[in-house]
Symmetry: C2
Subunit: 345 residues, 2 copies
């Protein structure tokens, strides 16, 4: 197990490790001698088929992001007589990481948390930064906490069993990170190693995951609680994406597909406003296209889309601010005229 | 409205104010122009009989410390279209402050929180320090968060309508704070102004509340997240008290009565071990007695009491550590032999 770096989030620290196989992670947790409770779902439980592991198995999918799941985890922790010094390990995609993190943040006012993301999206996004949440009243992430994992284990070989749709889902965020990176190395990797990436070459995936997570790390370390606007840059494409997900209902677009579409819309808006450097935007749009993202989709229900934008919880004051890029790694928050939005969607 | 001081808890800050009447607090919140949601209970709602106030009214008592209450608050916040910049105001005793704080800590991953404690116990204890919680599976405070209020409004005249039993409940914690204070001024106030305190003289109560809260402030500022053992000193008497509450079931002993009894047990244990200064212990025991606390109670169900001690979540490792005082303001964490515990309870 290789220690990559520590990510500092305010008073909290996440130690990030690279693991070659799941067994190494299980051994490390065991060696810590702490009472450990693994949280997985009906898919990822198969990687944890070891009798001595205590685990809570949630139903796969967004449906599990509810209070019942938190209670299930707490009940298991109580049965294990786990104290504040015990550790909850989230083993799964973004949903499992979100729920495990939320439960750990509140169990006895916060026990230790480790995360083992098993999807590309979770490896490059959900697992670092401390955002946890569940949904209530059908509102996504309505309640949650900022609770960074103490340990984060990246295990790229886990990606080999990921369904293609799930993998592409994660690539949407990776390309977004390539746009936000201070240099164009991640974009180059995406351009030059496309075949190896899509054939899940372990070494290239490892490079991709580490480089992509590094971009996220830079933004969240400089603004852990989203207070000075820097961390908000990570929302590039997300305001458009959330509205698309709402209108298309949450199941027809994967998050990564929606983010890819939304990021392209943000780039097009920026070009129209002469804020975004054109060659930079076109290069990124070409990469999205080369990985097969449906970036030319036109929204039919314009009115509902605009209403969904209004409902976005990241609005500040009375109008919504979009992340608009200037060039590689440089963006701003801007209001967009409704007429411009209508013309690009 | 007088600004008393700011209490710094790690990265967070609680500004503490002294208000002469509830109306001043209502006006201040209104003037902030934020979307505001008041949380009260069926008793404290009477102080908020103003039509323009948005409020959630919980059932009075521990029964409300459940997830349903959090959902009720979130539902009201969603109806008000409240964002992260909105404010939840907890207006009530410890239960209301705990629930309002817990809900605010998670609504959109944390909105603004103000507290207006209405009981003596909440004024000198629950309202400062950021501990929030609800009960699940019948386990008190099993889930919660550290989430200090941004604003804390002390309004001692509210105490005049408090039932005597509730007032005495709070005095248990005040006397405990007097023991933990670096000097004996609070103890002197309790000794010399007993009649004015018990007749609820506003000026004396104000002095008592401010001095008592100041003790808590010292401990939590030096150890906001209970990591270096200093904040644990505030648990003086609490390990004994929780076991008594468990054995006697939560309803027959008020928390303050149990803390008074537990604090006396901790003093007696310390004297027996020759750790606690005898005159200091006797002075405090005399004060507890003078306010009518039942400190001579003998536990009949010794076995169940010892089991309840074992279950105390503040145990560290395999055995329980008690706060044992040396002298004014100086304490340590110590293990106690079972034989000693049996002899004093």
């Amino acid at each position: 197990m290789k220690h990559l770096y520590d990510c500092f989030l305010g008073e909290k620290r996440t130690s990030v490790y690279l693991a070659r196989q799941v067994d190494d992670i299980i051994e490390t947790i065991k060696a810590s001698q702490k009472i450990a409770l693994w949280v997985c779902d009906s898919t990822t439980t198969n990687f944890l088929a070891v009798p001595e592991i205590n685990k809570v198995v949630l139903e796969s999918g967004e449906i599990s992001k509810k209070w019942d799941s938190v209670e299930q985890i707490c009940a298991a922790a109580v049965r294990l007589r786990m104290g504040r010094d015990g550790v909850v390990i989230g083993f799964g995609g973004g949903v499992v990481c979100d729920i495990a993190g939320f439960a750990a943040s509140m169990y006895m006012r916060g026990c230790s948390l480790a995360l083992v993301p098993t999807t590309l999206l979770a490896m490059v996004d959900a697992s670092l930064g401390g955002k946890t949440a569940i949904d209530i009243f059908g509102i996504k992430n309505l309640v949650g906490s900022f609770y960074p994992a103490r340990h984060l284990y990246l295990c790229p070989p886990l990606l080999s069993s990921l369904p293609v749709k799930e993998f592409i889902n994660g690539l949407g965020e990776v390309i977004k990170h390539a746009l936000l990176s201070p240099d164009s190395r991640l974009m180059e990797l995406l351009e030059t190693k496309k075949n190896k990436i899509l054939s899940l070459d372990t070494m290239v995936l490892q490079e991709l995951v580490i480089a992509s997570l590094e971009v996220k790390r830079r933004y969240i370390e400089s603004d852990p609680r989203e207070e000075i606007g820097l961390r908000a840059m990570l929302n590039l494409g997300h305001t458009f994406a959330h509205a698309l997900e709402t209108v298309g209902n949450l199941f027809s677009w994967s998050h990564g597909e929606a983010v890819a579409w939304g990021t392209v819309k943000a780039l097009q808006a920026g070009v129209a406003l002469r804020v975004t450097d054109e060659p930079y935007a076109h290069r990124a749009i070409a990469v999205f296209e080369s990985y097969g993202f449906d970036i030319h989709h036109r929204v039919k229900e314009t009115k509902r889309f605009l209403e969904a934008l209004e409902g976005d919880k990241k609005r500040s004051g009375s109008s919504i601010r979009f992340v608009i890029m200037q060039t590689q790694g440089k963006g701003t928050l801007q209001h967009l005229d409704q007429s411009l939005i209508i013309s690009i969607i």
